[in-house]
Amino acid sequence: MTVKTVKSLNIDIKHLCRVEGHGDIRIRVEDGKLAECTWAVVETPRFFEVMFKGLSIEMAPILAARICGICSISHSLASARAIERALKIRIPEPAQKVRLLAMHAETLQSHSLHLFFLVAPDFLNVPSAIPLMQTHPEVAETAVKIKGFANRAADLLVGRSTHPIVIKIGGLTQVPRKIQLTELAKDLDATIPYLWKALDFFRGFKMPDFVRETEFVSLRGVNRYPFIGGDLISSDGICKKEDEYRSMTNEYIVDFSNSKLTRLSRESFAVGALARFNNNYDLLHPKAKEAAEGLNLRPKVHNPYFYNLAQLVECFHIMYESKELLLELIDSDTSEFSIPYKIGRCEGIGAVEAPRGVLYHCHRINEEGKIEKADCVIPTSQNNGNIYYDLHKLVNDLIAQGMEEKEIERLSQMLVRAYDPCISCSVH
């Protein structure tokens, strides 16, 4: 086969589909050389940092949820955690467990939405998941069962899957009754077989072959695979405290994107399922490791298309750990789920692993319990720089391989989609 070089190329994708929010891909090749290659986040900003100003702290977790329709539970929890750490209060154990279960429900919902509704159509050659209901009913059924369970769990645990109701400073407004938790555990048992089916489907999808070495940033788990709080680590060997998030992210502004970008040891870094997998593999549930083996996935993975598979592995971890958490809650005293607090001037940071990566909220509070200053650093803003540099290398690789324009366009879209960008969130 002779490899012929692409002489000129003009790809201009406005508002990339099957991602959350508005982003454009622009690729221009002139005389066989890459003249422009941009991942431009054109989402309109909402200025959440300003919206928080002057509000009573009790409103913060409720407003924070509105940053994102998909990961509202993570935002609400990061905001509550920031304030609770500022006020130096420790929420009761049952509330901690219910919060972690709610994060699991959100991550499962978000990952399954991404894998089945946004990613699977690329591999099954359909424009969306809607025709899948006719063409691949068994895939559609699996999606519906897993995502359905995740939403039922969130409804029970925090009142609603989007914009949770029960998360408040100091704990929760209520916890589910034991009988409801028992029902949820049964529902979970009935859902697990569908996860193994999902593994079979995704084993059959060949991820594109592409590698660009990068730095992976995540929370560091101590006894558990990390989701709420803890130290920050990078695969380049950096370790910092939760409170040092600013020097871990180093946000900067560029002209072509309404999302700020970030960097640490290199030009960009990556967060999310693949970063967590690479940095905390040892802490995965044995069943999740078994799933990873089934997908031939071992750390450290530097192919960004494998974000898809790392998300699937995490679904296993979440389901099996949720079962353990539910049994622990059922067997324990859950009567204490909130503690009172005293207001004073303070500042606090809350980090959580949202579905798309580590998320930080910072709140400065005055003597009257009003928010004076807020700062949010979003997972997708941390990934946008990495996507940008990946896209450059991918297109250069594909040009060198003599790939056709249509294929370059397809693989570029799939690359951005693999990161599961939450674009509204990244601009907020």
């Binding site: 508002h15 589909c17 099957r18 991602v19 959350e20 929010g21 508005h22 309109t44 900003p45 909402r46 200025f47 940092e49 300003v50 919206m51 100003k53 002057g54 509000l55 009573s56 409103m59 409720i62 407003l63 509105r66 940053i67 994102c68 329709g69 998909i70 509202s72 939405l113 509704f117 946004l118 159509p121 424009p127 969306s128 998941a129 809607i130 209901m133 559609a140 999606a143 519906v144 069962k145 995502k147 359905g148 939403n151 925090v158 009142g159 609603r160 899957s161 989007t162 914009h163 109701i165 029960v166 408040k168 407004t173 209520q174 502004i253 002209d255 309404n258 509204s424 969130c425």
Partner: protein, 254 residues
């Protein structure tokens, strides 16, 4: 397709997101067990968040998010020209929603605080009805999937939807919820339009008014009750203004 002897046409629908969190669109993909039936009632020709198919022959347009830039104004006007029926979906589209919280500060200060002098395309927060005529407002933050399905059934059958006129209190009583006002929490349930199945009071949180006012709501009485219970004017105002649902009804100091 036939239903009760009537031949139903399958309307072509499009979903369009503006400045918001896209949580309302996400609700549509929830309640998974009904998805197949729901997507069988309509033909989805434009839904960027979940589909690469994008056609402009839609008859019904669902709009979510508020409007903040000139390019959004132009895009919205174009959608209005095409759509026979335009539905504003969720608190951002219907009311401007939480986005109005930034309108407390001058716009240049807002941009400077976040972007430190860099240019970004933005403008004042506007609800959809400030730009184009809206045929139906589907309220809530987020919308309820149940109510969305109910609306779609009405649109397919060609029946005008009648949203509840009564307040959230009625639904609380129907569900035998304990009254959160009686428990000492602030609640706007007595003046807020029902239809959410009182989901917040059900979960021990007072209502925040995301669905806008009910008909003939007695604001003065609620304010009196809240003051009697010891809530400060400032605290009440903060709650009432959160979703911008009662602007023009209550004066600025409540």
């Amino acid at each position: 397709m036939k239903y009760s002897g009537i031949t139903l046409k399958k309307p072509k629908v499009g979903f369009f997101d503006f400045t918001g969190c896209e949580g309302c669109q996400l609700q549509i993909t929830n309640k998974e067990e009904n998805l197949k039936a729901l997507f069988g009632l309509v033909e989805v020709v434009n839904f960027r968040e979940i589909s690469s198919e994008r056609r402009d022959d839609y008859e019904i347009a669902f709009i979510d998010g508020c409007i903040t830039t000139d390019s959004e104004v132009a895009r919205l006007k174009k959608i209005r020209e095409q759509a026979g029926i335009l539905v504003a979906m969720g608190a951002c589209a219907c009311l401007g929603g939480v986005n109005n919280l930034r309108s407390r500060f001058p716009l240049p200060d807002v941009v400077k605080e976040v972007y430190d002098g860099h240019h970004v395309d933005t403008g004042p927060v506007r609800k959809v009805a400030e730009i184009v005529p809206v045929d139906i407002e589907l309220p809530g933050c987020p919308i309820s999937k149940h109510e969305f399905e109910w609306l779609v059934r009405h649109l397919v059958l060609g029946i005008e939807p009648q949203f509840p006129k009564y307040p959230v209190c009625v639904e609380c009583k129907q569900r035998l919820n304990s009254c959160v006002l009686d428990m000492g929490m602030m609640c706007l349930g007595p003046v807020t339009r029902a239809g959410c199945n009182a989901v917040c009071p059900r979960n021990r949180l007072g209502c925040w008014g995301c669905r806008g006012p009910s008909e003939e709501a007695n604001f003065e009485s609620l304010m009196e009750i809240l003051r009697e219970k010891g809530f400060t004017e400032e605290h009440i105002a903060e709650r009432v203004k959160f979703f911008n649902a009662f602007s023009g009804i209550l004066n600025s100091d409540c």
